[in-house]
Amino acid sequence: MHKVLIANRGEIAVRIARGCRVLGLQSVAVFSDADRLARHVRIADEAVRVGPAESAQSYLNIEAILAAAKLTGADAVHPGYGFLSENCDFADAVEAAGLIWIGPPAKVIEPIQSKTSAKAVAQAAGVPTAPAAVVDDFEPATLDKIAQTIGFPLLVKPQDGGGGKGMQRVDRREDLLSALQTAKRIAASAFKSDKLFVERYVEHARHVEVQVLGDRYGTVIHAFERDCSVQRRHQKVIEESPCPVLSEAERAAICESGRAFAAQVGYQGAGTVEFLFDPLERKHYFLEMNTRLQVEHPVTEVVIGLDLVVAQLRIARGEKLGDIARGKLTQRGHALEVRIYAEDPAAGYVPQAGTLLRATWPDVPFVRVDAGFESGDAVPVYYDPMLAKIIAWGGDRDEAAERMKAALRETTVHGVVTNIPMLLALMDDAEFRASAVHTGWLDATWGSAAPGQGEMLTDSAVALLALAGVGGPLAQRGGGDGAQVAARVPDPWDSLAGFRLSSKGAA
């Protein structure tokens, strides 16, 4: 393995290119027309255009991506997360083209892609699952049986779904039929099949997931757990490791369940086994397995000191886990991750697109930033609006939270509105700080609108606002390349003579 093609964009493509660099491997980025100048293109060693802005024709275009690998002589493909990362046809096509697929082989992914067959695998591995049933028809007798065996509240889920789409909580027998009909409609339009199943709904459940790794020689290990209970409509907002509410015995049990599930399918590469944790019953239930690198992988990396991207690459080139993970499987301290989104939580979380007039990421001790964008970059309307992730480590959870606050306060993003004010408010929230949260908590607290940008201006800021007013368009966009000197553009309504924007300190 010498050259890795990264079939992705944004922060994860940047992250993977850096993992390649650590191992002395060349990296190849792919880009759509909307990403011609994007940061992942600038960080990789080489880049190839794969199509127009629309994902379907670029980042999901298997043919164009394989052609890019051929053109550049790449001998391996890393899919990142999202896009083609869990697409068996892509994994097969990569291997058929004689390239190394950095991930589990299609034959490993296939049996666990559907939620019902994954459940069967869990049961075979002795991993606990929540009471559930496949819904074959909507006859009253069938629904009565569901009410009896599963009980309420229950959750209706599309069998081949993901991202929470089509999922619905039902509290009463009389609401079951309409909920199933709605879910079937959504599933039919969004997923491979319109098949549904129902599952016992765990009240106040936490989302706990186990990082697993498998090599090509049958060794499967776990790399501990993450807690991602702070979610908005099933999208994770804050992730952390370790899970703050587990006892040592509970942690050992849930991590072993994750390992056992992965071992059952002969897992290869890095993956995540997701569980619901019932904080009252103190039980965990298998949810699903994600057969790729997760967005939140850095919290695990920071706490155990293992580079998961490098581990993926080393597994793919045939190294043994015993060598890769030696001495790196102890949890130390606590890590928190927040996702910086270009969205306005105060206006119903409406996504933002535009140019980052400025993006200054924090530089705080024990804080890591995985950013996909810099000052001057475009945030296209076509893709997920996540700009960056900030990961803070602390000796304990409180220390990590205080460092996160310092990092968020030091972050400046101009040009698009972000969720930073909401994240700062979350870091100070009493329930969050007490770990008294569950997967429905954020929706119940700030479901449709959350703290947004304020209006507070300091004297210094007011003065600059006034200066910007008289100066007309200051030729000051982005900033940060070190050599920029402000120039003043003549302004027709400015009658002040002799006014000049100073740049003292410039050579």
């Binding site: 306005d344 105060a346 206006a347 409406v350 996504p351 933002q352 697109a353 535009g354 007039l357 400025r358 309307v381 076509y382 606050k405 968020l408 306060r409 030091e410 400046t412 101009h414 040009g415 698009v416 509105v417 004010p421 700062l424 703290p451 947004g452 940008q453 304020g454 209006e455 507070m456 300091t458 004297d459 210094s460 800021a461 007011v462 003065a463 600059l464 606002l465 006034a466 200066l467 910007a468 007013g469 008289v470 368009p473 200051l474 000051q476 966009r477 900033g479 940060g480 390349d481 050599a483 920029q484 000197v485 402000a486 009658s495 002040l496 924007l501 100073s502 740049s503 003292k504 300190g505």
Partner: protein
């Protein structure tokens, strides 16, 4: 020269409106800020660093400020006391006349880059507070732009299917 700004904070029911003016002499700025009937005067020194940050000295204390300009929008960030949520605010330059009438937003703007999927009003329509004027779609999410107060539609500046940019004016109310 006086300039009028309005806060672009979407959480604000009644966005703060400011009238500012500045007299400059070298790095010195004599600033007058008026909010409602309250007027404040400030004397500061403002210099820009080679990296683009601003340093504003007021009463012998120098504070860093980050500023970006985008058409009629000014972005400002300052370091904040520990209890503040974030140091970034946005200010839109508005016409003096509108700011004086105190109607708040009479121009309804798209909050994002996207596509107009619905135009629910025509010129001359009387609208009530909260009535949907235009629906914009981006990233598969629809966003309804509503009338901030009772008003009459003065101009409709977009059509269904049209691509619009964040901040672009869609409807003007009077």
């Amino acid at each position: 020269m006086k300039r009028n700004y309005q806060s672009a904070a979407t959480s604000a029911e009644q966005p703060t409106a400011l009238e500012v003016s500045a007299l400059t002499s070298g790095d010195r700025l004599q600033v007058t800020v008026k909010q409602g009937d309250v007027e404040q005067k400030l004397g500061v020194t403002a210099v820009q660093t080679p990296a683009g940050d601003w340093l504003v000295e007021h009463g012998g204390i120098v504070r860093p400020v980050r500023l970006s300009l985008d058409r009629d929008m000014t972005w400002l960030s300052t370091s904040q006391p520990a209890d503040a949520r974030s140091g970034t605010t946005r200010w839109r330059r508005v016409e003096a006349l509108r700011a004086r009438h105190g109607h708040g937003e009479s121009q309804v703007r798209s909050p994002m880059t996207g596509r107009v999927v619905q135009v629910s009003v025509s010129v001359g329509d009387a609208v009530i507070k909260g009535q949907v004027l235009v629906v914009v779609e981006a990233m598969k999410m629809e966003h309804a732009l509503k009338a901030p107060a009772e008003a009459k539609v003065a101009k409709v500046l977009v059509k269904v299917g049209q691509q619009v940019e964040g901040g672009q004016e869609l409807v003007e109310l009077e």
